[in-house]
């Protein structure tokens, strides 16, 4: 067994780490970079639409931007940002020392990254994919557009990463809970992450199958989607939306979880109707799978199917409504502190309702014949995704920042950020409801003057400038706070919060908990504050702590998959510099070779000796 603390360089340490906290931070950084990239594309698109018949972007470039904006935001920005928080806080919130499979956790991150980079490479090979993030066939079968091969392979690879991370979360939450942490005592963020992971398990598999079909058709000339050869165009839409609709809930459920953590913490009240919240989460997830065809009301799948899917879709409003009112009544009677985190969390509630009510409107199938594929839909889903998920991400960022980075973000800048972002958000998207009804289809790179669309488009674009200014202010805040922010080293619980992650020392030691805590209630830390001495009771004596070794293999495996994906794309290139088969072989050797190495090499990890743990305990206090 290896000795404790091998000295490593910082870079090597981060490349080989299997620590869920470091991986969480890596997810956050990667997600932020992709968020900025896709956000810039959005700003460019809004500039193009600022005036009628603008020529800032061509139709082709605009289509590449809409495709990449949507794809990146959902797969490479929102998902990793949420995964960042999930990675960092699920183990802390359930009283575990790590996730169930630390190696797989690192593998998930690196595979996601290599898929994301593969997708981004498309810009250097003749432009991004241009068929929309849904990649509807036959448009996405365009032979001349190499970008679509990058879309197919990039998403395929990054999807594997997402899938194995989700399986890891499932096993972690089922198996690694501290003594007394029953399922009905799990914090809502863990619950929603658990349900989300289940959704990923069942939704990313059809996506993988669909992408495989698309790859076979694009690269190996299969005919699944070619109607003249007996194929079916609509089948892609079914496969895509069986993934695509749950995807919305994959993103929004952890966002609900964050809101359910922040609101009780800053209202100083326990979550209203905890049990109802848990079951509402499950019902939403279940119904989320039953409603995919509401994206296809205008496809002509028949009145019976349209009616069933319409009613199932509307029904989702009921469990969502339960959640909304439970949040409101968590705040009711509380003592609310409005810091930046709480500003985002509380205003999430009415904002999300605005997105939700248009969702019910869209669910009325015959009325959807009007809304479908217009700016009304664009407005609706941005109310859900920005007004919901992004608001929750910002709430979570300000809330958890001290635990992750040992200092707080500046509150004054934070509040300005909130004000600017909220104004910009409503200015941009509220008006788009009307644009849609006034006859503006979505995904148009231009519109003619004199159709009554000019003013509202201009207002919408001005809104994006507010949001951009807000995000720039956030970046300034992060940099400023890194130097001048309020330090919380040694302060475990800066918010007077309720859940277990705030019982760990700040900075969090690599083993999280010196002694696994004994959980006695929902909101365990709050329980100890009221009924005990304010610290968690240990469930075990101080002893050696077993930790996994870092490994470079996850990175190498993912590099192998990157080469594999790239080799397949090279099959479509006109004059590849090297033979695609060589690239494919290199990828296979790297991936399978690393896997074999991992299998034959016994790695038992290492132990942090009792003496070190005791020294830490003396430093941070506590310990029996």
């Amino acid at each position: 067994m290896a000795s404790y603390k091998k000295e490593k360089s910082v870079i090597w340490d981060w490349l080989t780490t299997v620590d869920h906290k470091k991986l969480g931070i890596m997810y956050l950084i990667a997600g932020t970079l992709f968020f900025v990239k896709a956000g810039l594309m959005a700003v460019f698109m809004r500039i193009q639409l600022m005036f009628p018949e603008n020529t800032f972007l061509s139709g082709q470039t605009f289509n590449e931007f809409i495709t990449m904006h949507g794809t990146i935001m959902l797969f490479l920005a929102a998902t990793p940002l949420l995964f960042g928080f999930m990675n960092y806080f699920i183990p802390l919130q359930i009283g575990a020392r790590d996730v169930a499979f630390p190696f797989v956790n690192a593998l998930g991150f690196w595979i996601f990254m290599s898929g994301g980079l593969l997708l981004s490479l498309s810009w250097f090979f003749g432009g991004g994919p241009d068929a929309g993030w849904t990649a509807y066939v036959p448009l996405s079968l365009n032979e001349n557009q190499l970008g679509l091969d990058f879309y197919v392979l990039g998403l395929q690879v990054s999807g594997i990463g997402t899938l194995i991370s989700a399986i890891n979360f499932l096993v972690t939450i089922i198996n690694m809970r501290a003594p007394g942490m029953t399922m009905m005592r799990l914090p809502l963020f863990v619950w929603t992450s658990f349900v989300t992971s289940t959704l990923i398990l069942f939704a990313f598999t059809p996506l993988a199958a669909g992408l495989a079909l698309l790859m076979l058709e694009r690269i190996f000339d299969a005919q699944f989607f070619n109607p003249t050869a007996g194929g079916n165009v609509v089948i892609w839409q079914h496969i895509f939306w069986i993934f695509g609709h749950p995807e919305v809930y994959i993103l929004v459920l952890p966002a609900f979880g964050i809101i359910s953590e922040v609101i009780p913490a800053f209202s100083r009240k326990r979550l209203f109707g905890y049990t109802a919240m848990v079951f509402a989460t499950m019902i939403i997830a279940f119904l989320g799978f039953m409603v995919w065809a509401h994206h296809m009301f205008t496809v002509g799948i028949g009145p019976v199917a349209n009616s069933i899917f319409a009613i199932a879709t509307m029904t989702i409003a009921v469990p969502t409504g339960i959640k909304i009112f439970n949040w409101l009544f968590t705040m009711w009677g509380g003592k609310i502190t409005f810091n930046t985190s709480m500003l985002f969390a509380s205003s999430f509630v009415p904002t999300f309702v605005l997105g939700g009510v248009t969702g019910v409107m869209l669910a009325m199938a015959p009325v959807d014949y009007l809304y479908h594929d217009t700016y009304f839909v664009v407005a609706h889903f941005h109310y859900i995704i920005v007004g919901g998920i992004v608001f929750a991400l910002f709430a979570g960022l300000f809330y958890w920042y001290p635990k992750m980075f040992n200092h707080k973000l500046n509150e004054k800048m934070g509040k300005w950020f909130f004000v600017l972002f909220t104004i910009g958000f409503h200015l941009t998207f509220f008006i788009q409801h009307f644009l849609g009804l006034m006859g503006m289809p979505r995904r148009v790179y231009t519109y003619l003057g004199g159709q009554g669309l000019d003013d509202f488009n201009l207002i919408s674009t001005v809104g994006t400038f507010f949001m951009s200014a807000a995000v720039i202010l956030l970046v300034i805040n992060i940099i400023y706070s890194a130097f001048k922010g309020e330090r919380v080293i040694g302060i475990n619980d800066p918010w007077d919060a309720r859940t277990l992650e705030w019982a760990t020392p700040t900075p969090v030691p690599e083993y999280n908990f010196a002694q696994t805590p004994q959980i006695r209630s929902l909101d365990p830390l709050f329980y100890e504050k009221v009924h005990g001495d304010g610290t968690m009771k240990p469930a075990e004596p101080v002893g050696d702590i077993h930790m996994p070794n870092g490994s470079i293999l996850p990175l190498i495996i993912s590099i192998g998959l990157f080469f594999g994906g790239f080799g397949l794309i090279m099959l479509e290139m006109d004059n590849p510099i090297v033979s695609p088969w060589i690239v494919l072989a290199v990828g296979a050797v790297l991936t399978f070779g690393s896997m074999a190495l991992r299998s034959i090499n016994d790695d038992h990890g290492y132990h942090i000796p009792k003496s070190v743990v005791q020294a830490d305990l003396k430093k941070w206090g506590g310990g029996k």
Partner: protein, 344 residues
């Protein structure tokens, strides 16, 4: 720039107040011009009423909460820790279900009412027009056997059944002021019934992303009184190539010589892989979006169509002589069955 933006604030406020008349007439769905559009508009208002009620309830509670339950400085008294309240939970489960039932009913009846079978034999009394979506233009085949491009003529006040197909990728046929949209899908045949209350020109758009020039795939629905419509059908059927050619002999020849006719049918002549030009002289727009009266634009279109509609399938004609080009333009303008100064 800045001045322009501030000028908009009162405009925007006013527009919100007058939300019944938002957008351009004969385009916006907020000013419905046919029974289908009217039904959709009414039910949209119904759902907005229900949803406004829900939103108001949430907003009232929200603002009550955030003003009433702020923590005062130095207030360290712990609020009462409540688990929840079963009666309240049941209330906010049952009331939304009742509200949804109000919306279920028109949803289901409407879905069945709007459904149209794409079978001509079921619509023998109605005007039945086959619509084919192409990158990036629309083809309209009439039962009488002639074809029109970009602009579809219908009789006002009557149900018109559109059979929807697509040639290359998925498109979506949408005339906002007249009703909903249904997709044109390769290998699938859909149908949609529209009815224009009054004669007029209604703007239509492609609603499904179909390539770089998706934004430029506009079309017109031109509703005429029944007798005018009948006359138009007669004229379209009666187009005689010889007579037309006599008006612009040189242009006709240039049109043939440059092989335009191998893609663009006129009357019964030629192939129809591109838009039929039988009534080009009656068109309201060039390529669906551009100023039809601009000769230079039309010439630019013939020389280099890509510059005006990126990704379309018409080959460029860079080598065509100026003389030929002038003649072709003159010829195209002569292709009228109604006359360019017709009122609609």
């Amino acid at each position: 720039m800045r001045k322009q933006i501030w000028r908009l604030v009162p405009v925007a406020l006013m527009l919100f107040l007058l939300s019944g008349c938002l957008g351009e007439e004969n385009l916006t769905a907020l000013d419905p011009k046919g029974p289908a559009a009217q039904w959709i508009y009414d039910n949209m208002l119904l759902s907005i009423a229900v949803m406004t009620f829900v939103s108001i309830v949430v907003f009232v509670i929200f603002f009550l909460v955030i003003f009433k339950f702020r923590r005062k400085d130095g207030d360290d008294v712990l609020p009462k820790q409540v688990h929840g309240n079963t009666a309240m939970e049941i209330t906010w489960t049952v009331i939304p279900i009742i509200l949804l039932i109000i919306l279920f009913i028109p949803t289901v009846t409407g879905t069945f009412d709007f459904h149209v079978n794409a079978d001509p034999s079921e619509h023998e009394d109605a005007v039945y027009i086959k619509v084919t979506g192409h990158q990036y233009w629309w083809q309209f085949d009439y039962e009488e056997g002639f074809t029109a491009g970009q602009e579809v003529y219908i009789p006002a006040g009557e149900d018109v059944v559109f059979e929807l197909n697509a040639e290359d990728v998925i498109h979506s046929f949408w005339v906002p002021a007249l009703g909903g949209k249904i997709d044109n899908i390769p290998g699938v045949t859909n149908a949609l019934t529209l009815n224009a209350d009054e004669p007029g020109v209604y703007k239509g758009k492609c609603a499904e992303l179909c390539g770089p020039s998706h934004a430029l795939m506009d079309f017109k629905v031109i509703a005429l009184e029944r007798d005018e419509y009948d006359a138009w059908v007669e004229d379209m059927l009666a187009v005689e190539q010889e007579a037309t050619a006599a008006n612009a002999e040189a242009g006709y020849e240039a049109f043939q010589e440059n092989a335009c006719i191998s893609c663009h049918a006129i009357g019964g002549q030629g192939m129809a892989t591109g838009p039929a030009l039988t009534n080009f002289g009656d068109r309201q727009t060039l390529a669906g979006v551009y100023d039809i009266d601009d000769d230079e634009l039309l010439k630019e279109w013939i020389r280099d169509p890509q510059s005006l509609k990126q990704g379309n399938n018409m080959p460029a004609h860079p080598d065509i002589s100026d003389e030929d080009l002038d003649a072709i333009v003159e010829y195209l303008r002569s292709l009228q069955v109604r006359g360019a100064d017709q009122e609609y």
